[in-house]
Point group: D2
Chain length 267, copies 4
Amino acid sequence: MTTKIVLAGPRGRMGSEAIRMIKNEPSFELIACIDRINNGKKLNEVKEAATLEVPIYEDPVCCFEENEVDVFLDLTIPKVGYEHTKIALERKIKSVVGTSGFTETQIAELNEISDANGVGCILAPNFAIGAILMMQFAQKAAKYFKNVEIIEKHHDQKLDAPSGTAMKTIEMIQEVRESFKQGHPEEYETVEGSRGGEIDGLHVHSVRLPGLVAHQEVIFGGPGQTLTISHDSINRESFMDGIRFSIEHVLTINKFIYGLENIINHQ
Amino acid sequence: MTTKIVLAGPRGRMGSEAIRMIKNEPSFELIACIDRINNGKKLNEVKEAATLEVPIYEDPVCCFEENEVDVFLDLTIPKVGYEHTKIALERKIKSVVGTSGFTETQIAELNEISDANGVGCILAPNFAIGAILMMQFAQKAAKYFKNVEIIEKHHDQKLDAPSGTAMKTIEMIQEVRESFKQGHPEEYETVEGSRGGEIDGLHVHSVRLPGLVAHQEVIFGGPGQTLTISHDSINRESFMDGIRFSIEHVLTINKFIYGLENIINHQ
Amino acid sequence: MTTKIVLAGPRGRMGSEAIRMIKNEPSFELIACIDRINNGKKLNEVKEAATLEVPIYEDPVCCFEENEVDVFLDLTIPKVGYEHTKIALERKIKSVVGTSGFTETQIAELNEISDANGVGCILAPNFAIGAILMMQFAQKAAKYFKNVEIIEKHHDQKLDAPSGTAMKTIEMIQEVRESFKQGHPEEYETVEGSRGGEIDGLHVHSVRLPGLVAHQEVIFGGPGQTLTISHDSINRESFMDGIRFSIEHVLTINKFIYGLENIINHQ
Amino acid sequence: MTTKIVLAGPRGRMGSEAIRMIKNEPSFELIACIDRINNGKKLNEVKEAATLEVPIYEDPVCCFEENEVDVFLDLTIPKVGYEHTKIALERKIKSVVGTSGFTETQIAELNEISDANGVGCILAPNFAIGAILMMQFAQKAAKYFKNVEIIEKHHDQKLDAPSGTAMKTIEMIQEVRESFKQGHPEEYETVEGSRGGEIDGLHVHSVRLPGLVAHQEVIFGGPGQTLTISHDSINRESFMDGIRFSIEHVLTINKFIYGLENIINHQ
């Protein structure tokens, strides 16, 4: 059985990736797009790469009335995305929202509409499923290995160190790991900083080089062995697996979920 | 509170590592050893490296009667280990058994004694906790990434390829992943075998070089990202974290468990 | 002292990267562009991202006459690039040509003009300096380690395996390494192909996964140690370091050089 | 043609490895050992693992007189090694000396005797050929990539950071790289030390974990690409390739050489 999808935001970078992803997934079918321009045209008339004869609607109400929709996918901007999703949920159309930048009030309102109508909705600011798995695995491994160091590597235009993902990983590890000073008690640096940043005795190292994008290794060490969990992300396409999974998952739920981490490995 | 431990097999390679591990773990205390020779001596009289004044017993019964034991740890050989463990369990002493090579009958008997007495016992042929976590994480990740390849690397004296761990990892991935032919449908090899071994469309590569010991990488790929789970093992010490964890865990159970994978991440 | 550069092909993908590279290199200055359209305009009028007031010429002769040029950089297409470079060399302007697809006759002619005029010219179909260094280092290491395996990893849309770079690396290793059957003499595969492709006893493994771009590891193993040389390329920008180096190097030569590998580590 | 070798120090850890290496190298033959005990016995009588009927001499003079020796290999201690090597060189026997801890005076004297007699001698405190290649390659690559970071990883019993090898690598890179502040000019740390140690704008990171031995990665980054040179050492066996190479190389020289780096890639 095919999942019939309506996409809002087909011209954006994320939307373009999503069109490709839906096309490559045999169980998905793109049946319509919502776009503030190009009303009445077909997708292949307005997008060079598209080969799909998919109708474009300016009016979401009209789109949802004329089509039988399984899942609505919004990849637009908060203002528009909020309106679209509200309309979809009120029509009991399950929704996946990858638009980031919603206010807390907007999130609360969508949550309410979703729950009131008993219609599944997944809203996530970050769909990089690999990064979420890396953090979850790191937390699990930390129960068994108390020695862990993190090396995160990013392009040299990044201003802050350590990265947000590294800090979030450390927080998740801290939830299960007692504070413990790693390394030899008498270790010393001949070059200051070489042992990296230290949080609760755990060390974190930030590499910045041109040619890198966004990478992280979490290395656990025990006598005679190391266990390493690494995530490498090279572009926005990295969100597509998370969106694909959310489309499949939203079909099975009838409530509101915020954050991909709350459906990954939570069965 | 300290966990009082009796160790059988202090002179073996595993036993030596265990003595070191127990010494380094503040919450553990080695209170006696069982050894078929050296009865009545202290551990520091018979082991060069040992600094501990720990009495050695030839007779396990005598050892268990004269001491208040929290956990009995057996790292001997099947024949002796079976006897020791039986005696310990009958005295309601929780046991961790790292001896490998038991017959199925022996395992079944120890299981029965353990359950009948309601006394916790963990018997495991493999205590490499990192390898078990790698396999469990790989299985979890396979739910979200259908594209995966395995690279396992071993020393060049290994006869069989792929390794047993690689095959077990693939089996665990197969439990959650539908058969799926990876790579481009029209891909071709100009050098036969370069795309590796194929099982259900999943590829496995075996590297053999001097200077390697036992290593495995499981690489999951999705658009724009890869997630890699690696385990590197350099010697027998790699069993110590699993033994440490089992000693802690056996205190909390009152039944028989076979295989470390059944207590790792099963809370 | 600043190197004054004229760039042909400013609107292409490579040209755009080159403009950025020149801007970031304090010793380089972009003084003019050659482009078949936009004659008489400034670069910042026709390129959104450009902030440089650089004049654009349709006629290369005119461009070379009106400016004092240190190095001419061509990143166009063979037909046009051949004409440009010929004109530059005849005016004794040192040239770096990154345009690929020249015929052997064209290359021979440019070689002749360059040598006849005693003016330096570097023509290279591949400016990925990191890949060239990887191959050169691999060749050097192969003199000391006879055990080597190659793992190359590419995106899953690649048709052929092993990659061209892997095959070229193997050729370069073969020049210094005697044929030698690696691994245990009695090793066997339980899954066919798992030991990879074999050339002269050396094994090569091709991984294909979405999320990868172009990666290669050359692993040398000897007792107790491994030496690994890896190259990771994520996009066309990877040619910029080679172009930058060639611009610096062409200033020091007065002959024709084909292929970056002939100036890297050949001092 | 076989190279006939006399080994001094067959009972030590290095000596044991050397016996195995010589046995596995078809062009090498162990013809005698020098040992301060076990005079007159055969090697297989005193070493459990040895299968070789090789005579043992207490007196080096006697050993050198009774045998036709191609290369003398000393793996003892400075005092004894100095005497052995002096006697060998005076008898014009080419020598490879892996004994570490010689005084500068001793080295100067052996140098003099070697040169005076026109007999090849290679003395090296470190035979880890992979580490030397890594440093040489890093120096070469630094000419083309000015952005570089070093990650060195060691077991958690190591006291100093960064490691000696990392510091030596940095020195070698500094010889060819102008001081240059890497990373974004406005980068900042939210956790102090996370960007690692800094020398001339180059960053170095020291990881310390149980389960590691001695590892180093030198990562060069340029637009769109990274080049990584890694060395992993797991035990003393890592010296064997360097000793093997030195035995082969000493046959071709008639002077004194100190340090393996002076014969690697110096042809």
